[in-house]
């Protein structure tokens, strides 16, 4: 029974991937990609990776999907021109041949994998008690492979600097993205007023539970960042100026605390990022607490994009930058068909 479910999920996944790749319309392709991301989290559940499934649903499907949907809207005008540059039949035949060969070689490798498979699970299980956390994934992320996680946080900050550096000079220090001006009494604003406190409780729960159960700072940060984006899109608060001090402090606090703890380990435990005996759990909690604001800010600001307007000239309230949303006069009268 479960084998049939797995097979159906795998076939659906392949079909969606193919559909996404060959669809003519970019919007359709991105919509397909979002559904693909959700289906992919089902795959992770079947592959016994609940933590990975949560990350995939939140970041792989959710955030990436939102990012791509935003881009599709702004790239609409360039689609037709690009379509005319479509590769010829010869290139396509070559592409099919190449893709099929790559997939076949990979599949042959899969079928000739060594037995028994190499694994680090016994070592992880043996040493997990020393870290004081109950979720082995968190143990790996913050104790056994803490250097990877530190570098990952640095990569996120560098990516954000990269995005910001694409701002035109005149907007440096300004605010990213359009200023959203949704109807202050509309349903989106209502959602942005009611949902964030609930999102905060659920997000912080995921953060707190990550030590012993599936969950953790990445999934939590995604939910909190999504709540912030909802408030921004409803026009209840504007995107921050990228030159504000508190923002920059919040962005670097995570990596800085991480490095500080690492140096402390080099001094006290004899290795960079080593934890002194009995101090692993509190150190891990300190790192996670410091990483949370960094992750929330960076994830949301990556979605916001490069600064696109100067900070000191906010448009009139209620003005919307989404040109498609023109207001219309309300026709009077009862039933219209």
């Amino acid at each position: 029974m479960t084998a049939i479910v797995s097979l159906v999920v795998a076939l659906l996944l392949l079909w969606l991937a193919l559909w996404t790749v060959v669809a003519r319309d970019a919007f359709v392709a991105v919509a397909g990609f979002v559904v693909y991301g959700l289906l992919l989290s089902l795959v992770w559940v079947r592959l016994a990776g609940i933590d990975v499934a949560l990350t995939e649903a939140a970041i792989g499907g959710g955030l990436t999907g939102a990012l791509l949907l935003g881009a599709v809207g702004r790239l609409r005008g360039t689609e037709a021109a690009a379509w005319s540059e479509r590769s010829g039949a010869c290139t396509r035949a070559f592409a099919v041949l190449l893709s099929v060969s790559v997939a076949t070689v990979l599949a042959l490798c899969v079928l000739t994998l060594p037995e028994p498979p190499p694994t680090l699970a016994p070592q992880a299980a043996e040493n997990l008690a020393a870290t004081g956390v109950g979720n082995p994934i968190t143990g790996v992320l913050l104790a056994f492979r803490a250097l990877d996680t530190l570098l990952e946080a640095v990569v996120l900050v560098i990516a954000l600097i990269g995005v910001w550096s694409l701002a035109p000079d005149r907007f440096w220090g300004g605010r990213p993205g359009p200023r959203y001006g949704a109807d202050p009494d509309g349903i989106l604003t209502y959602l942005a007023r009611v949902l964030p406190p609930i999102g905060i409780v659920v997000g912080l729960y995921l953060f707190w539970a990550g030590a012993d159960h599936p969950g953790g700072k990445f999934q939590s940060a995604t939910i909190l960042a999504a709540m912030w984006m909802l408030v921004q899109m409803a026009g209840l608060s504007d995107a921050p100026r990228i030159d504000s001090r508190w923002l920059r402090a919040g962005i670097v606090v995570g990596p800085l605390v991480f490095v500080a703890v690492g140096v402390l380990g080099a001094w006290q435990a004899g290795a960079f990022l080593g934890y002194p005996d009995g101090w692993a759990k509190p150190m891990i909690v300190v790192i996670e607490l410091a990483l949370l604001p960094t992750l929330v800010l960076v994830l949301a600001l990556l979605l916001n994009g490069a600064p696109a307007r100067s900070a000191d000239s906010p448009p009139a309230p209620g003005e919307t930058s989404l040109s498609a949303r023109s207001t219309r006069p309300m026709p009077a009268g009862g039933t219209r068909q």
């Binding site: 509309g186 349903i187 989106l188 209502y190 959602l191 609930i198 949303r325």
Partner: protein
């Protein structure tokens, strides 16, 4: 007693699945964006409600059951809000054309 509860769960969940099917059929058969929204929100809400009801007796503890109800409430909040947002955006696009 547990047999009765199991039968109740199965019946409720199957009924919920029927409504999910109805929502999907409606999505495919109904003529325009608005009517499809009706199909999705109403039939799927009832589907979720029935699946949640069916699962309630299977949960161990009142808190776990409340968590399921919470999921149902959040699904309703989002589907109610999103259906309005889609309806409004389609309406405005139609009127500006």
């Amino acid at each position: 007693m547990s047999v009765v509860l199991d039968v109740f769960s199965i019946v409720a969940i199957v009924a919920g699945l029927v409504f999910f099917l109805a929502g999907t059929v409606g999505l495919l058969r109904f003529p325009d964006a608005y009517t499809r929204l009706h199909a999705l929100t109403k039939a799927d809400n009832l589907g979720v409600a029935l699946v949640v009801t069916g699962l309630l007796p299977q949960m161990d503890g009142v808190l776990a059951a409340l968590k399921l109800v919470l999921v149902w409430l959040l699904v309703m909040l989002s589907s109610g809000a999103v259906s309005q947002l889609i309806a409004r955006s389609v309406r405005r696009r139609e009127c500006s054309e």
